[in-house]
C-alpha cells in the first residue's frame, strides 16, 4: 500500500516545563538505603549560542532547532511513510541531563525521497561541550546529502554501488559540515564529537554505516534478528573508539558500509546507546523490544530488566510519535542517558516472532 507524505516532515515535540521541578532530598531513614530522587531542570544555556546561528544555518541549512518553535523541546520525533515503508523516530532527553539541567545530546532524523528513504541517529559525546550541535548537524547533513545523491535515481537502479556511494557522500558531507562549523565558531573538533548511524533504502537494497556506538537490528521475515552493524566492543562502558569529526573517523564510517537486499526485512531498528545499553545485547533483545512496540508490554515479552510505564502498543497508536516518546521513558537502574530510537517498517513484510 502506498501512503505518501510530503517531503517536509513535521517534527513533533514535547515542551519543557516552565520552571524546574525541585524536589527536596528526603532525610535518610535508618536501615533503608536512600532512593535516587530525580528532578527536571531546564538547561541554563541556549541550545546554540546566538552568535553561531548564522554558521549553523550555513553548514546545515533547514535544520530544525529544538527551540525553534517555542519552548525548548524535551523530546522530539517525526514519522513518515511512502512506497510501503513506514518510518518513526523519537529522541528523548535522559534523566541525568534533565536532572543536571543539560541539553539532550542525541539527535534523530528521517527523510523520504522518490523510491527511498534515509534515517540517522547520533549521540553527542557527553565529554564534548557542544556535542548536541554535533549530533544535530551530523544527522541533518548526512540524511540530506544521501537524499540529494539518490532522489533522482531510478527505483530499479541496476547499479548496486549507487546506494553505497550515496551513503559515503552523506558521511563525508556530515564530517565536512562539522569541521566547517568548528572552524567558523573557533571550536576544537573534539567539542563537536558525536557518533553517527545512518541507514538508507534505494533500489530494493538497504545500506548502513556507523561510527561510534549505538546499534542497529534487522528483523527478518523468517523471525530471525540480525545485526548488520555494531560498534566495536570496548572494555569499559562509555568509551568510544571513534567519533566524528575526529581524524580517521570518516574512514571508519566508510569502512563500515553494509548494503543488503531489503526484500526480507520486516523492520529495521536504529538506536543510540541510551536505548542499546538497557537492551544489551541488542541481538538478543531487539526482538522483544520490537514486540513491545508492536503489541504493547505484556508479561510474555522478555524486557531485559526494563520497566515500561507506557504499556500500550506504540506502532499502532493514534499518535505514534508521542507514544514512542512516552515509551522511551522506560526505566532501568543506572540507565539514564538520552535515548533515540528509529523504527523503519516494510508494510508488506510481517515479522512472525
Amino acid at each position: 500500500m502506498s501512503h505518501e507524505t510530503p517531503d517536509t516532515e513535521t517534527p513533533d515535540t514535547l515542551g519543557l516545563p516552565d520552571a524546574a521541578v525541585a524536589t527536596p532530598l528526603a532525610a535518610p531513614i535508618a536501615a533503608e538505603p536512600p532512593r535516587p530522587i530525580w528532578t527536571v531542570t531546564p538547561p541554563s544555556v541556549p541550545w546554540c549560542p546566538e552568535e553561531w546561528s548564522a554558521h549553523l544555518d550555513a553548514v546545515a541549512p533547514g535544520l530544525v532547532r529544538p527551540d525553534q518553535h517555542g519552548p525548548l523541546a524535551e523530546a522530539t520525533g517525526m514519522r513518515a511513510a511512502r512506497d510501503g515503508w513506514s518510518l518513526l523516530v523519537a529522541s528523548r532527553r535522559g534523566r541525568l541531563h534533565a536532572h543536571r539541567g543539560d541539553h539532550r545530546e542525541d539527535a534523530g532524523q528521517v527523510l523520504l525521497f522518490a523510491h527511498g528513504w534515509c534515517a540517522a541517529v547520533a549521540d553527542g559525546a557527553g565529554s564534548a561541550t557542544y556535542s548536541r550541535l554535533g549530533a544535530a548537524i551530523a544527522t541533518h547533513v548526512a540524511t540530506h546529502a544521501v537524499r540529494e545523491a539518490l532522489q533522482h535515481g531510478q527505483a530499479d537502479s541496476a547499479e548496486p554501488a549507487l546506494l553505497g556511494r550515496a551513503l559515503e557522500s552523506g558521511a563525508t558531507a556530515a564530517n565536512h559540515a562539522l569541521r566547517e562549523f568548528a572552524t567558523r565558531c573557533g571550536l576544537a573538533l573534539r567539542d563537536l564529537r558525536t557518533t553517527l548511524l545512518v541507514a538508507a533504502l534505494h533500489g530494493g537494497r538497504v545500506g548502513l554505516l556507523q561510527v561510534g556506538d549505538g546499534a542497529s537490528a534487522c528483523l527478518n521475515a523468517d523471525g530471525t534478528v540480525s545485526q548488520p552493524l555494531s560498534g566495536p566492543i570496548t572494555e569499559f562502558s562509555g568509551e568510544v573508539a571513534h567519533f566524528l569529526p575526529d581524524d580517521g573517523a570518516i574512514e571508519q564510517l566508510v569502512q563500515s558500509l553494509v548494503v543488503r537486499d531489503a526484500s526480507h526485512c520486516a523492520a529495521l531498528i536504529l538506536a543510540t546507546d541510551g536505548v542499546e545499553d538497557p537492551w544489551y545485547p541488542f541481538t538478543r533483545h531487539a526482538g522483544p523490544l520490537y514486540a513491545q512496540l508492536l503489541h504493547g508490554v505484556n508479561e510474555s515479552v522478555s524486557s531485559g530488566g526494563v520497566t515500561s510505564s507506557h504499556r500500550a502498543p506504540v506502532l499502532s497508536a493514534p499518535d505514534p510519535v508521542h507514544a514512542l516518546i512516552e515509551w522511551l521513558a522506560f526505566e532501568k537502574r543506572g540507565e539514564n542517558d538520552d535515548r533515540t530510537l528509529c523504527v523503519i517498517r516494510q508494510d508488506a513484510v510481517s515479522w512472525p516472532a
Partner: protein, 196 residues
C-alpha cells in the same frame, strides 16, 4: 599519614559519601572501595554501592608498602570489575585516587607501577600530600599527579569535593583511552596543583 591528616581523610570520605548520596546517578551506578597500605595492603571496604557503603575507620601505622598497595589494586581490578563482552555490558572505567604523604619503603613497587601503566585498568589520580610525598614514584604509576601542599582539614575538605565532582563527571561518554581519549577532570580547587 598520621594525626590530623588521617582524621581529615576519614572526614573527607564521610563527606564524599554524603555528597554522592545526594546524586541520583551516583546512587544508581557508583560503587566505592577503600584500600590502605602501611606494612601491608588491605582492602578495608570492598567495592560497594554508594547506598550500602559505610565510611570506614582508618588507622595510620607502620611503613609505606606502596608495592603491596599497587599489587592489591591490580588484584581487586581483576576480581571485582566487570568488563564488557558480547553478552554483558561492563562497568565504567574506575576512578582511583591514591593518597600518599611519604616515599615507598618497599623495593617491589616499580614492577606493579609498570603493570598499572601498561594495563590501564583505571583512571588513576595520584595525590602527593605535603612536601614529603615522593612525586616521582607517583609519576611512575600515572601521568595524572596532583600536589596538595596544605594538609589542613579545610584543604582535605576541598579535595574531597573535587573527588566527588570527578566521580559525578566520569559517567560521560569519552574517547577510548587507547585512542588518546580518557577523562576530563573538573578544575582542582585552589591549593591543589597538577604536577606537570
Amino acid at each position: 599519614m598520621q594525626g590530623t591528616p588521617i582524621e581529615s581523610v576519614k572526614s573527607g570520605i564521610r563527606q564524599l559519601h554524603r555528597d554522592l548520596l545526594g546524586d541520583p546517578q551516583a546512587i544508581e551506578s557508583a560503587y566505592l572501595s577503600v584500600l590502605t597500605f602501611a606494612n601491608a595492603a588491605q582492602q578495608i571496604v570492598p567495592l560497594t554501592e554508594v547506598a550500602m557503603f559505610n565510611p570506614p575507620e582508618l588507622q595510620a601505622s607502620g611503613q609505606t608498602n606502596f608495592g603491596d598497595g599497587l599489587r592489591l589494586l591490580l588484584e581487586v581490578f581483576e576480581r571485582e570489575l566487570v568488563r564488557t563482552t558480547a553478552d554483558q555490558k561492563g562497568d565504567w572505567r574506575p576512578l582511583v585516587f591514591i593518597l600518599s604523604d611519604g616515599a615507598p619503603t618497599d623495593v617491589d613497587w616499580p614492577v606493579y607501577a609498570q603493570q598499572l601503566r601498561e594495563r590501564r585498568p583505571a583512571n588513576i589520580i595520584a595525590v602527593a600530600c605535603g612536601d614529603q610525598a615522593d612525586v616521582e614514584a607517583l609519576k611512575q604509576v600515572t601521568e595524572i599527579v596532583i600536589q596538595m601542599q596544605d594538609m589542613s582539614p579545610d584543604a582535605f575538605k576541598a579535595f574531597f569535593r573535587f573527588v566527588s565532582a570527578s566521580v559525578k563527571q566520569t559517567s560521560a561518554k569519552v574517547g577510548a583511552v587507547g585512542d588518546g581519549g580518557g577523562i576530563t577532570l573538573p578544575p582542582p580547587p585552589p591549593g591543589i596543583t597538577i604536577v606537570p
